[in-house]
Symmetry: C3
Subunit: 102 residues, 3 copies
């Protein structure tokens, strides 16, 4: 049996736990149908801006979706959160089996 995969985009957002609920509400409004959240700790670049990025209460949010939606999410969170919160976001292409779910 041949395995047929399709490409989707994985967007990963690592940020402060304090904005988890706000971010998830935003994702919902942007049309995201599923996400995964896990806990992490981290430290950002040195400097005043990231002084609060301690070793606690960070979260990682992951969404698999079409490229166009991933880019919308990235643009939205940049406009809304980058100035005021420690946040890293990145995109990766992934292969999935069940395209009707994303």
């Amino acid at each position: 049996m041949m395995l047929t995969t399709e490409n989707r985009t994985l967007i990963t957002v690592i940020t402060e736990g304090a904005i988890e609920e706000a971010l998830l509400r935003d994702l919902d409004k942007l049309g995201v149908r599923g996400y995964t959240v896990s806990d992490a700790r981290g430290r950002g670049s040195r400097g005043l801006r990231d002084a609060a990025w301690g070793e606690a209460a960070n979260i990682r949010i992951e969404v698999i979706c079409p490229r166009i939606l991933a880019e919308s999410i990235l643009k939205h969170i940049q406009a809304r959160y980058y100035a005021n919160y420690a946040m890293v976001a990145f995109l990766q292409e992934v292969e999935i089996l069940r395209p009707e779910k994303f």
Copy 2:
């Protein structure tokens, strides 16, 4: 010193914690030599089928292996679990340093 990396495939499975043991047994039978499990929470696509995918007890299982084995795992879990469990699985190509381990 030149850095020589080799390609492998990373398969990530995010699913209900309830089937962790069954999945790990399956991976073992399929010839997987190592895996990483971490805890997560998430929400799947809206609908009856994923109603149980609440904000608790999800797991993420990751395996790095040759492409052919990653595809076998994907086919196996699709056949065995997709109909009855909230599950997302995806493949990514990664570069590793120590090929003899995978």
Copy 3:
């Protein structure tokens, strides 16, 4: 608005929690400006060497940085830790929005 992304390299290191502090000190010395740590459990390849890789106290460290730095990190940890610790490390290319941070 066009979305302009830049490529960076994501290095992921999964290893024993016991060496978290040592590894983070090493990353700092290598010039890493930010990292994410999360907890995981796992099992490595069967054999004496990985006998201690039980289902507890593993960590995942992730760094997004220029390719050249990711390769330096990989070479360093291979030389310093691979012989004595259960460790998996891999590289992936990712797309980011805010290059000045990495």
